[in-house]
C-alpha cells in the first residue's frame, strides 16, 4: 500500500525544468506565453531554469515602450521572477554578440553562458520546454 501511496502522491518530486526562449517579444505570442507557463511551474516548486538564446535575448531588453503598438509590456515581469524563486536566468553569449548586446542592456541580472556551458546545462535537464 505504501508503494501505491508514493506513486499516487508525486508532490514531493522536484524535476529540473528548462524553459528555452528563442523568440523576440511582440512579433509572436511565444515570449508572453512562455513567461506565463514559467510562473505556473514555479507554483509547483520545481527547479526552473530560464534560458534565452537567438532572438529570445531581445525579451530582456531594457527600455521597452509598447504604448505605440498598444500591447502589454510584459518585460517588467522578468524582474518579478525572483519573487517566485526563479533565479536561474541564462543567456547565450553568441546570441548576445550577434545582436550587439551586453549584460548592461538587459533588464535583469543574468548568467552569460558559452555554447559548451549552454549545451551541458541543457543535457542535465529532466524536461526542456521550448518557446
Amino acid at each position: 500500500m505504501s508503494d501505491m501511496d508514493e506513486m499516487d502522491d508525486g508532490s514531493g518530486v522536484v524535476k529540473k525544468f528548462m524553459f528555452l526562449n528563442r523568440k523576440a517579444p511582440h512579433g509572436t505570442v511565444y515570449a508572453l506565453e512562455g513567461l506565463e507557463v514559467v510562473l505556473i511551474t514555479a507554483a509547483f516548486d520545481q527547479d526552473v531554469s530560464m534560458v534565452f538564446t537567438d532572438d529570445g535575448v531581445f525579451q530582456l531588453m531594457k527600455g521597452i515602450d509598447t504604448k505605440g503598438i498598444e500591447v502589454k509590456d510584459f518585460s517588467k515581469t522578468y524582474r518579478a521572477l525572483e519573487g517566485y524563486d526563479i533565479e536561474k536566468l541564462y543567456v547565450d553569449q553568441a546570441s548576445m554578440d550577434a545582436r550587439g548586446l551586453t549584460e548592461d542592456d538587459l533588464i535583469v541580472d543574468v548568467t552569460v553562458l558559452s555554447v559548451d556551458e549552454m549545451a551541458n546545462l541543457m543535457a542535465e535537464q529532466d524536461v526542456v520546454i521550448s518557446f
Partner: protein, 99 residues
Amino acid sequence: MLHIVNKSAAERSSLESCLRMATKGSAVLLIEDAVYAATNGNAAAAKIQAAAADLKIYALGPDLAARGMAGRVLDGVNVVDYGGFVDLVAEHSNCQSWL
C-alpha cells in the same frame, strides 16, 4: 515600389529575399520583428547598410520602441511613425509584403 518586411532576419529569409529583388530607388520598410535588422550590432546590420546605398530604408518607430531599440537605429535608416507608413504606401504605385 515599396517592400515591407515583418520577420526577424535571424529567423526567416524574407529580408534577404527582399534585398535581392528590390531594384534601385525602391523603398524598404521594416516593421515588427524585422526592425532588429536596422539596429547597431545586429548581424544583419551590414546587409542593411550595404542596401542603403541603392534603396531607401525605413523602420517603424513604434515597433522599435516596443523592442527597446529606439536608441540603436543604424545611420541611414529613416524612422517613420504610422502616419509615415501610410504616406509610404500612398506614395508608391505598388507594394510587396514579404511574408
